[in-house]
């Protein structure tokens, strides 16, 4: 059994900080931009790891369906759980394998989603601190619904499960917002010993709104050809937002990204990468090979312009004019955040994918069939038939986006190369 955040600390010290120094030293605008994005991430992770040994602090381990602002309103340190495996899959694969094996040794079959197996393995290996608590929606997928009860048993920390509405209309967002007010807030008051302060929450939401507006601007620029930043940097503001929304550090990071993108556009600095193809990546792209997207750009002249789940803001900033609107907006944001979109039925997933496809002027689709995700794999039939009917080139890639041992990066590259050589 390791110490809380022991492996996370290793990633910070042995990978993130040296990488930061390395990137800063390079004479390359893109690398400098990446370094600036990484700075905030390192700071956030250091705050988290420090909090693990401070009994006065509370670490909020939360699942999609929520965003960090409310946890910051209670002075907690939030960790968006589903981003956690990606920290390791790109840097310390042996930790990924170790945690997956810990989960499997405890009796979880290998056909369960690797993200959930990773989290269970991390919990069983002592990676999460005892001064933490869990908040999860009962969705959007089977993996979530089994991982959290297991983690709750392993850690014995306070846990709250919220009902996730599998509908898309305004009324269900309002209903979900009421649930946040009547169930989540009393829970947070109890675990933190602090009273909910509406004005503090408003300030934090306003802070996150500034970041969200900047992010909307940035994503608008991705409709240009070529996109002003390389594919590998495209999702940075999104990752910062889902992990840290409401913290001034997140706003600063996205502001910096925004300024750089706008400068490039204003000064007419083109992305040197020629875009022969503009791709929407459906579901989640593999994180275990950070060089995959640069390879696609350099070797195949293919840019991944957008992604269905990781990087397409679709809402307006949260209306803070009243408590009612604020909770409705906060609820919507959680419901439309990344993996929560998997509550969409297959037709709705398709409709949303095509909206992004058209908005970002894509000409082809790569769609992940994550081998542990019964949901996205099950939606594949309807998607495939539609793309065929419409003549949209689409590659369905079976892979595990956390575990590189299932389908290797080389294998993926072969499939991608073959696909683009035929269209």
């Amino acid at each position: 059994m390791g110490k809380p955040f022991e492996k996370t600390t290793q990633v910070i010290n042995e990978f993130a900080k040296p990488a930061l120094e390395f990137l800063r030293a390079l004479d390359d605008e893109d690398m400098k931009l990446q370094a600036k994005s990484l700075e905030g991430t390192v700071e956030r992770l250091e705050d988290l790891t420090e909090a693990a040994s401070n009994p006065e602090k509370r670490v909020a381990l939360f699942e999609w369906g929520l965003t960090p602002q409310l946890f910051y309103a209670f002075d907690c340190l939030p960790l968006a759980m589903e981003t956690f495996p990606y920290l390791f899959s790109a840097t310390q694969k042996q930790v990924v394998h170790e945690f997956l094996e810990a989960a499997e040794s405890s009796g979880l079959p290998s056909d369960v989603c690797s993200t959930d197996r990773f989290l269970v393995g991390a919990a069983l290996s002592g990676e999460f601190p005892k001064n933490a608590f869990f908040v999860s929606c009962a969705g959007p997928c089977d993996g979530t619904r089994i991982a959290y009860p297991i983690m709750q048993k392993a850690l014995g920390v306070p846990t709250l499960f919220l009902e996730l509405p599998f509908t898309y209309e305004r009324e269900s967002a309002r209903w979900y917002g009421r649930q946040i007010r009547t169930e989540l807030i009393p829970f947070l008051e109890e675990v933190t010993g602090k009273k909910f302060d509406l004005e503090r929450f408003r300030e934090i939401i306003e802070e996150s709104n500034r970041a969200y507006e900047l992010m909307l601007d940035v994503y608008d620029t991705y409709t240009t050809t070529p996109m002003p930043v390389p594919s590998s940097l495209r999702g940075s503001p999104w990752m910062v937002f889902i992990s840290d929304a409401g913290h001034p550090r997140a706003t600063k990071s996205i502001q910096m990204f925004h300024a750089e993108v706008m400068r490039r556009l204003k000064e007419g600095i083109p992305n040197p990468i020629e875009e022969k193809h503009r791709v929407i990546w459906g579901h989640v792209q593999p994180y275990f090979d950070p060089l995959l997207l640069p390879w696609m750009e350099q070797e195949l002249k293919v840019s991944v312009i957008t992604s269905m789940l990781t990087g397409s803001p679709i809402l307006r900033p949260i209306d803070t004019s009243s408590e009612e609107t604020m909770f409705e907006g906060y609820a919507w944001q959680g419901l439309d955040m990344t993996m929560s979109l998997m509550r969409f039925d297959s037709r709705k997933i398709l409709e949303y994918t095509m909206k992004l496809y058209n908005q970002y002027r894509c000409d082809s689709v790569i769609f992940t069939q994550h081998v542990g995700c019964n949901s996205i794999c099950g939606a594949g039939g309807i998607m495939r038939r539609y793309f065929q009917k419409e003549g949209i080139p689409a590659l369905f890639l079976e892979l595990d986006y956390v575990d590189d041992r299932i389908v290797s990066a080389e294998n993926l590259k072969n499939q991608i190369e073959e696909f683009f050589s035929t269209i």
Binding site: V112, R145, Y148, P165, S346, G378, A379, G381
Partner: protein, 373 residues
């Protein structure tokens, strides 16, 4: 046992003699894809709710072109039956997003089915206040949709009549389960499953009459004593009497179940005196043996299963998980951990495909497990 033969025959097919009589007399049949869908609403509308199964189907080649190989074999079998016209006798479908497999099947059915009525029941996944509210909302939507499509109305009185019929069934099934607790049990696990499946496949009132006639016969049954290990079988889409018979043929007796096609369907009475019958129906779904899709259902599951283990003198548990079923994978892990800690009942997981009834590998594993007992 003439009466038992009746149940065996009825369970063999969805288009059984009773269903055909119903259909030929102008009755409508609505297929249900999950035991969590409150079928009382359908019954109260004068329709016949029928839990969809695909007995005997071995090949899913058409469905495999639409759903993925990692989608469970139950959902692929249902889609296959739909695509090949085997479910054309239905007048409608109610499907739910209980799990991701069912969730994606919902869209495929919606896409392919030409039936008059299709309803997507958005399932709750907690037993919390929020979950109860959500379930009630969905029940109201289902009732409204049925009323609209079938030009009918579901009155409070009809709901109360249905509750009485369903409670009667569940009391009779409780009586039946008492017979399984005897030593030796007065019916085999496969006989029980045939009865349970019949209840989901014919008009409920007829089922009640037939079961009333069967029970006294069974209660008088005189079976030789034996010392076979007493098993509890847990799982989801496990609806094969042949599979249960296969387990029993290895030298065991299945005395209790925690199956969607068994206890989960029949457990729990509805409060007949409740002010709001719809709420009373919802409360029964929230207090029966929870499906592991309920994220906070572990404590209730454990409590119910513990009573079952003690009451039925269970010596071993067979966890029959369909391949790729995450919910039952998590449920098994939590249950096995708990049973190891608090009881001394061993658990074996038999991973299977929906229509697999026997295999050499299953046989070997089962025999090793039974020797352990």
């Amino acid at each position: 046992m003439e009466h038992l033969k009746y149940f065996e025959t009825m369970a063999q097919s969805l288009t059984n003699a009773e269903a055909l009589v119903w259909k030929n007399s102008g009755g409508r049949i609505i297929g249900l894809l999950c035991s969590s869908i409150p079928e009382e609403i359908i019954h109260a509308a004068g329709l016949l709710p029928m839990r969809v199964r695909t007995p005997g189907l071995q090949n899913t080649k058409n469905a495999d072109a639409h759903l993925h190989r990692i989608n469970c074999s139950y959902t692929r079998s249902v889609l296959e039956a739909l695509l090949t016209g085997q479910l054309d006798f239905l007048d409608g479908f109610v499907a739910a997003n209980t799990c991701d497999h069912h969730f994606r099947l919902v869209s495929e059915i919606e896409d392919k089915s030409t039936l008059k009525f299709f309803h997507y029941f958005r399932m709750h996944h907690t037993l919390s206040t929020g979950g109860r509210e959500w379930l009630l909302q969905e029940m109201k939507k289902l009732a409204e949709h049925i009323e609209e499509v079938f030009s009918t109305s579901i009155s409070e009185d009809q709901l109360r009549e249905t509750i009485a019929v369903y409670n009667h069934t569940r009391r009779l099934m409780n009586r039946l389960n008492e017979l399984r607790k005897k030593d030796p049990p007065l019916l085999t696990g496969s006989e029980y499953m045939n009865i349970a499946l019949t209840g989901m496949s014919i008009p409920r009132e007829i089922f009640n009459q037939k079961l009333e006639a069967l029970l006294p016969e069974l209660e008088k049954r005189d079976l030789p004593k034996h010392h076979l290990p007493r098993l509890l079988i847990i799982g989801g889409a496990c609806d094969s009497p042949d599979f249960i018979e296969f387990i029993e043929s290895r030298g065991a007796t299945v005395v209790a179940d925690g199956l969607c096609f068994g206890l989960r369907h029949y457990m729990g009475l509805i409060d007949e005196k409740a002010e709001d019958p719809l709420e009373a129906i919802a409360d029964r779904y929230l207090t029966r043996l929870p499906c592991p899709a309920m994220i906070d259902g572990l404590e209730l599951s454990h409590e119910i299963l513990k009573t079952l283990i003690d009451g039925s003198k269970v010596q071993g548990i067979v966890y029959a998980r369909l391949k790729f079923c995450d919910h039952f994978a998590g449920g098994r892990k939590l249950l096995a951990d708990r049973l190891r800690q608090e009881h001394s009942v061993p658990v074996i997981e038999l991973e299977r495909e929906y229509n697999t009834t026997k295999s050499g590998q299953l046989s070997t594993r089962l025999q090793a497990f039974l020797e352990l007992l």
